[in-house]
Symmetry: D2
Subunit: 155 residues, 4 copies
């Protein structure tokens, strides 16, 4: 008998700062995409064991976003702490289908999906995800359990 | 006999600057959403006759994005000029369904859709689009012809 | 006999992210000023006991920068951790004279000075720093000892 | 008899956008440094005849800022047009001593100085400014007349 204990998704806590906010007093929506990039970086480094800066600088690999969508459910206010969770929905030869759920004290504020493609920064071509990274991605998919599950609703 | 002469959509030319670009040498994707916001501002002021800064500061109205999706078709490089065109697909009581097509010398680089909601900045509630603005929106929909028509392909 | 134990200055550790870096691969210098703002926010909230977001939103006080200078001594690279320390050199009726020293693993990367003015966001006028805040500022000046002391060299 | 007609300095008109502004409703000060970078880029390309993007991408030369100071005289508001003028105070073997004066309808809002160093992006070392660029810099210094002359006042 095997008992599998699932873990919550990798998450980055981001304090909402003055520099994120617009004249309406709320986070200016493009800043959320910077936060999505930030959680990806830490996920690569801390969860997948692939140091993000080495990946870019030494290995000359990038992970540009080919498609993204985001539903902004409730605004974020200066001083709040946004927990940005990252979920791997699937992966392909060179692509990652990611989902991001942003919550403040457990309350959903935004939900996004992104398709990223792993490319060579030398020639811009897609690079096959292989070996250890592939194994780590599969483990992440298998082991993560999402407490609040939600998808961006297309409008 | 009536001859209707349609116009190309309102467009903002944006020089790709050092501040837009990432260590891979291309525009960092969240910057495109700032550019999308920029063309909206100029469209309000120059095309719809509703001064954007007065709308925010005096009338205390905002146009937060409730949903957005973007397909990044080809990267943009430092020194290129991106033409960001804005198309109004439809509008509702308080909402604008907008589409954005970004081209460099006629070549498509990105395509986005956004749903924006006109709200009161005093209480965050949706505000009815009425009178002159409604008329201008209808005129813009009626009179614009899009040479390169494309939608973001959901992935 | 009194033994005074001085503390190191308040400091914020900032991971250097993709979004901070320019096509040259280093932090784009305006991002350092965003980091300087970030350490100020946390210093207000965590060290001075004046919640920064409440200060802006509820008390409608701001701390705009009236003057700043920065010497960029050595570039910061993607993946490094920058420790941004904040030093209070002096304070006046409404002004704060601050110094910022940015180090990576103890090595100096930048050194800045800023003069900030506490103002009312209602009318833009300077506001007298009084009571508890004044006391806390004095304590911070008295109790902080800077291991690496340096000033930006004007050029 | 020779009549020398001097020209006003090169200047970039920057519309103050939503993305520049903070919860206080004014331009967030780090954005001004992005604007300073923008006027430098256009000055290189349009005035000095050295295409900025080619300089970075093809010639692999950069112009990092080694020192900057800025006095923020009056805030800039959403919807205003900021004219950012660039003045060359002097130049050295590899360095440019620049001054920036930001005005709205002729009224001074900010004044900055920067020392930039021309470097090789391959090895980070300073590169000698020579030939055509040197000549153009001298011409710019000789031919520019500044109507409103001001320096940042150090505090």
């Amino acid at each position: 008998m095997t008992i599998t204990t699932k873990s919550p998704p990798f998450s980055l806590r981001i304090p909402i700062r003055f520099s994120h906010c617009d004249p309406a007093g709320y986070v200016f929506f493009p800043r959320f995409f910077e936060m999505i990039q930030a959680v990806c970086e830490d996920w690569f480094t801390q969860e997948l064991g692939l140091n993000f800066s080495e990946m870019i600088i030494q290995h000359r690999l990038g992970q540009p976003t080919a498609y993204t969508e985001c539903q902004f459910i409730k605004p974020c206010l200066l001083g709040e702490n946004l927990d940005m969770a990252i979920i791997l929905d699937k992966y392909g030869t060179s692509s990652l289908h990611l989902r991001f759920i942003g919550t403040v004290a457990g309350e959903i504020r935004l939900c996004a999906r992104s398709v990223q493609v792993v490319i060579s920064l030398e020639n811009g071509r897609p690079v096959r995800i292989h070996g250890d990274l592939r194994k780590r991605l599969q483990e992440y998919m298998d082991n993560v359990e999402v407490a609040i599950d939600i998808e961006p609703q297309r409008r």
